[in-house]
Every structure is written in C-alpha cells, then in structure tokens.
C-alpha cells in the first residue's frame, strides 16, 4: 500500500470510531500534531502546580492544606499520565521537557496569571478546573488510544478539584463582607482568562479543523466554551457571585447564554510570552529541573552500583 491508500484506510478507521494505538500506521502529521498537543497538555499540568503551590504553606486551615496538597499532587500525576502517553509516539520525555524549558513548546495561557489571595485558589478549582473538565471529557473520547485513556484517568480525579474549589468559594461568598469582596475580586480577575483557555475563536484556530477530522478533538473551541459558560452561569448564581460580563444574557431561542467580547489581544500577548507571570513560571521550572539534576544522576549511579554488587555477590 502506498501512503495515499494507507491514509484512506486510516481515515476510515477514524470515521468508524476506532482507536489508533501506538504501533498502528498513522500519517506523520497526525503523529506530529498529537505530540504537540499532548506535550503542551502535559506541560500545562506541571506548570499548573506553581500558582497553587504558592499557597500551600499559607492555607487557612489544616484541612484546606491537606486538600490543596492532594490536589497539587494530582496535577503532577496528570502531567505524568500525559507524558507517558506522549512517549508512546516515539519521543523521549527528556526532549519534551527540554523543548518547553529551553525551546518553543507552549503551555496553557491560564497559568501565567498570579494567585493574589486564597480566594484565587477557590476560583481556580471552580473555574479553571471546571473548564479543564469540559475539555478533557471531550479528549477522553480522542481517537488516539493512549491519550483517550490518560484523559479518562484525569477526568476521574478532576471533579474533586472542581468541587473543593466551588465549595470553598461558596463559603467565602457567604462570609464576612471582606471575604465576599475577596471572592468577587478573584472571580473578576479569572473569568476572562478562563474563557480564553478554550483557545482562539473557531475562525482563528489554525489546528482545529484538522484535529476534528482526525477525531483527536470532537468539538470546536467555541462549542466547548459555550458549554462551559452555560453551566457556570447557574453555579455562579447559586453561591451569589457575579460573572464580570455586562453583556451576558440568555437567548431563549438557542437555549444558550451569550457572552461579551473576549479580550483576545490579552490572550495573544500572554501566549507570546508577555503575561504577568510567564518569566517567573519558566524561571521556577528551570530552577527545579537544573537543581534536581544531581539527584537524578545520583539515583542512577546508586542503582548501577547496587546492580554491580549484586552481580558480584552471586
């Protein structure tokens, strides 16, 4: 079979809803797009530990500290599921990580915003993890088997993340006037960046059509964004916080909540490296990687010696 015939068979398998597994034939471009998208997803989980990790030592109670620790540990786990899945495409984890630390690989723009108060931790759980659930529920049906399975695993843990944030924000929004103000301020700052998490509008999203043809994604950025807005409006009302969008209104005909203009200039600025925390995040990740290098080397050397001794003894 030539490449054209192989591509046709491949597309037929996709259209039949079959999963593609690591050793199956796949178009080079499919592999490349998956590596780009999956490693970007993995980097996001890892960077995502930084804004929340920032508050672990200052959690308001022991209970909240344990919850936040568990959540941040989960984010590390999610990163690892995704790196593991990406490696099935024949790339080395080290190269993926270094492409992000020293190269051009990107991660979600949302993690380039600072966490100013503990209310930000509540809102990240509610909005940021809520948005991630919408996206990852779709990706759990992705055509690439290992990616779908990694997302399924992630989804099972993500609803704890959202619920702990929503519960905590509800408490804060029903608290003292000062707490209420903190809660609303955090919602105001995170709302628009959260909507940007779904990526640029469909007409400006260069990769979407291709990814949908290959069933890597099954919904467009705007469809996912809409479904997130629809469910969030109700949740905001129930706990008495206001979404900072004066244009937000219900459309009886479509059954959807229409939202105002998203500040896309800001999105592109952050993506290109000029968000409030881009430099800080990269600096922190490089520091961790470089200062951990001797530990990784020492562990490897210890394993080598142990094996050598065991060989000698027997």
């Amino acid at each position: 079979m030539d490449t054209k015939e192989k591509s046709d068979v491949f597309q037929k398998r996709i259209d039949n809803g079959e999963k593609i597994e690591p050793k199956d034939w796949m178009p080079e471009r499919y592999r490349k797009q998956l590596i780009r998208m999956m490693s970007q997803h993995a980097h996001s989980e890892i960077v995502g530990m930084l804004p929340e990790g920032n508050w672990i030592t200052r959690a308001p109670s022991l209970k909240r500290k344990m919850v936040l620790l568990a959540k941040v540990q989960d984010e590390a786990g999610h990163g690892l599921y995704l790196y593991s899945a990406t490696e099935t495409l024949g790339v080395k984890r080290k190269d993926l990580v270094e492409d992000y630390l020293y190269g051009k690989a990107k991660y979600s723009s949302i993690f380039n915003y600072p966490t100013l108060t503990y209310a930000d931790i509540c809102v990240i759980g509610w909005l940021v993890d809520g948005a991630a659930i919408v996206n990852q529920t779709m990706l759990a049906k992705s055509s690439y088997g290992p990616y779908a399975r990694a997302n399924l695993r992630i989804c099972k843990e993500e609803s704890f993340h959202k619920k702990q944030g929503y519960e905590m924000l509800a408490k804060m929004a029903g608290g003292t006037p000062e707490q209420q103000k903190m809660a609303q301020d955090a919602v105001n700052r995170w709302w628009w960046p959260t909507l940007m998490m779904f990526g640029p509008p469909d007409e400006e999203s260069p990769n979407s059509a291709e990814l949908i043809t290959w069933a890597v994604k099954t919904k467009t950025n705007d469809e996912l964004r809409q479904s997130f807005v629809d469910r969030t409006v109700m949740e905001a009302r129930k706990i008495g916080v206001t979404l900072p969008d004066p244009d937000l209104k219900y459309n009886e005909e479509t059954g959807h909540w229409e939202y105002g203009e998203i500040p896309w200039d800001e999105f592109w600025r952050v993506i290109k490296g000029d968000g409030p925390m881009n430099r800080e995040r990269l600096k922190a990740r490089r520091k961790a990687y470089e200062e951990g290098a001797w530990v990784r080397e020492a562990a490897m050397e210890y394993a080598r010696k142990k094996k050598y001794r065991e060989g000698k003894a027997s």
Partner: protein, 97 residues
C-alpha cells in the same frame, strides 16, 4: 542546561481488586525496580486504584505488530468448533438451563 540521559522507562500494571486480572496503567521513569514501584504507586494508585502493582522494563516487552495482525491471528478464524455455539443440543435439554 540540557541533560543527555534519562531514567529507564517501566511499564506499570495494577490489579484493581482481589481476584481481578492485572491491567496496564501507563509508564513511569525510574533508576531501578524499587523506585519504579514507588513511582508507580504515587502516579497510578493515589486512590486505592490497585491492590498490587507490577513494573516491567519497557524494553523487555515483546508485542505483536499491527502489520501482521491478519496472518498472526487467522489460525483462529476458521475454527468455529472451538465455540459451544457450534454444537446442537436437543431442545428439551436446552430449556432446562
């Protein structure tokens, strides 16, 4: 600062419950088997997903290839007599089940 080596890759299998068969979970990097087990627990069993874990060096796994899938499995294709449906049983006996 780039590095030129990484810890070996291990495939992780876990047993979801007593009496259940082991399932593939994913992979971890670790310098030796002992750390591979610990990393596998922290990565894939933070919520009691498994009651036992196996780790296997990834390069020790031999797998069938998709290209050979036809000839590799076709000896099973024409042996319907390996299934109970191949045999007929008197109606009365069938009913008593």
């Amino acid at each position: 600062m780039k590095t030129n080596q990484e810890w070996p890759l291990w495939e992780v299998f876990y047993q979801p419950g007593n009496g259940k068969p082991f399932e593939h979970a994913g992979s971890v990097h670790a310098p030796d088997a002992e750390m591979a087990l610990q990393n596998a627990r922290d990565t894939y069993a933070r919520r009691n997903e498994g009651i036992a874990i196996w780790v296997v060096p990834s390069d020790q796994i031999t797998a069938s290839t998709p290209e050979d899938v036809g000839p590799f499995f076709d000896p099973a294709n024409d042996k319907a007599y390996r299934h109970p449906q191949f045999y007929s049983v008197p109606r009365a006996v069938k009913k008593r089940k």
